[in-house]
């Protein structure tokens, strides 16, 4: 019984564990779509957001930027096999996009501002697809 309780206790500790500097969130990229803010915690210091973007717009090339931060992605893989098409990333331009594709982003914010804006711009005509505010507050996406 003692070890069952210990397992439950460790499970609860893990479940309750949060890190102020890291948050996981998701977003649907859609022109004219509803834009809900993304949340980072209060306080100073670098903030990292793992953002899973579901691409639901048609532009093949999109510039993704945020003032006061940098954006990285786990795509394309270091050794990309030819049987799959991957994103191509040059500076802040994400190419090879298709509707329904997932864009995994890792956004590192400097933590010096109260709010940020994540900007998605269609490269072809330089028009804004979506502006996503990143604000301070309680995050609702924890995993």
């Amino acid at each position: 019984m003692a070890f069952i309780a210990a397992g439950v206790l460790v499970g609860l500790l893990f479940a309750r564990f949060t890190a102020a500097d890291y948050v996981h969130a998701s977003l649907t990229l859609q022109e004219g779509g509803e834009t809900k803010p993304l949340y980072i915690s209060h306080g100073e210091g670098k903030r990292t957001m793992a953002l899973s973007v579901k691409n639901m717009q048609d532009a093949p090339e999109v510039r993704i930027s945020v003032d006061g931060g940098s954006i990285k992605s786990s795509q394309p893989p270091p050794i990309a096999f030819p049987f799959r098409q991957w994103l191509s990333i040059k500076d802040d331009i994400f190419g090879g996009l298709k509707r329904g594709m997932k864009i995994p982003l890792s956004i590192v914010l400097d933590g010096k501002r109260e709010a940020y804006e994540l900007l998605f711009v269609r490269v072809a005509d330089n028009s804004v697809i979506q502006r996503v505010p990143i604000v301070r507050g309680e995050s609702h996406a924890h995993h």
């Binding site: 019984m1 003692a2 070890f3 069952i4 309780a5 210990a6 397992g7 439950v8 206790l9 460790v10 499970g11 609860l12 893990f14 479940a15 309750r16 564990f17 890190a19 102020a20 500097d21 890291y22 996981h24 990292t48 793992a50 990285k72 992605s73 786990s74 795509q75 394309p76 893989p77 270091p78 050794i79 990309a80 096999f81 049987f83 799959r84 997932k102 995994p104 982003l105 890792s106 590192v108 924890h142 995993h143």
Partner: protein, 280 residues
């Protein structure tokens, strides 16, 4: 360091583990790439679908299966293999447990932590209950937190992809790395995370326990008639699944924890441990 110390006694197992690491981990990650993933998360995740959804158990499960279909298929395949042949995934192919064990073998024994005093099955299923139902109960969601299926691929990929290094430099990444280091790299045998915290291991252990009741299934088994009770196998077991109670002459095997690595069979001087069907 002698080769037997580095690679254990069942050397072909390490070739399988290395193959598993090449197939599943960055930079090559051949298998995740086939389904459009660059690590063991997303569609490939074999753990997240086990969590009961707060949106409703049935609809949440369906949504999880759709989102993590490859991971679900992987676990289903693992369970079928385990039923008939023992826990060959955990011991021979899992790139995560394999990596902790392999890296752990490079760390001097004097720095290792022994977790053998923990009643692993009791601890494991207590933890597993919270993993599965914690979010549903409102107690919190473990999900990707401190997950070895996240930490190890990100660690392997960090020299190549700055996004992985960015995660590992956060408090969450460092806490995950610390958890994997203490319960993996620095654990005696390198498998304490597998034995106490891995949700796939919990399900797989249960499948092994239940299927070992059937004599036609192939498992690592002990012939009590041949066992001389020397306890040699107890010291080689990575998951402290073998015990020799003082009251008995022979060693007892906990099939909820045994990962079918066969290190014990190789170490047995009396040839009492074998892999196969139950002998009549």
């Amino acid at each position: 360091m002698r080769i037997t110390e580095l690679f254990g006694r069942v050397k072909h197992r390490y070739l399988f583990i290395l193959a598993g690491m090449l197939l599943f981990l960055p930079p090559l990650n051949l298998i995740p790439q086939t389904v459009g993933e660059t690590n063991m998360c997303g569609k490939v995740c074999p753990r997240l679908f086990l969590i009961l959804s707060t949106k409703g158990i049935a609809s949440g499960a369906l949504s999880n299966v759709q989102a993590m279909w490859f991971g679900v298929g992987l676990v289903a395949t693992v369970l079928i293999i385990t039923f008939f042949f023992g826990r060959l995934w955990c011991s021979h192919l899992c790139p995560i447990g394999g990596a902790t064990e392999l890296i752990g073998r490079l760390i001097p024994a004097r720095l290792k932590i022994s977790f053998a005093k923990i009643d692993a099955p009791a601890f494991r299923y207590g933890y597993f209950a919270v993993f599965v139902a914690g979010a549903y109960w409102g107690a919190g969601n473990i999900a990707c937190k401190l997950c070895s299926y996240r930490v190890i691929p990100f660690l392997a990929g960090s020299p190549f992809e700055p996004a992985y290094a960015a995660y590992l430099s956060t408090s969450m990444g460092m806490a995950g790395l610390l958890t994997v280091a203490l319960s993996g790299f620095f654990a005696k045998g390198g498998r304490a995370y597998c034995n106490c915290l891995c949700p796939v291991g919990a399900v797989d252990g249960l499948a092994n326990y239940l299927s070992s009741k059937f004599g036609f299934t192939k498992k690592v088994r002990t012939d009590p008639g041949k066992c001389v009770g020397c306890g040699q196998c107890v010291t080689t077991c990575m998951v402290w699944a073998l015990k020799k109670p003082e009251a008995t002459e022979t060693v007892q095997r906990d099939t909820l924890s045994c990962v079918s690595c066969m290190e014990c069979a190789k170490s047995c001087p009396a040839g009492a441990i074998y892999y196969g069907k139950r002998q009549k």
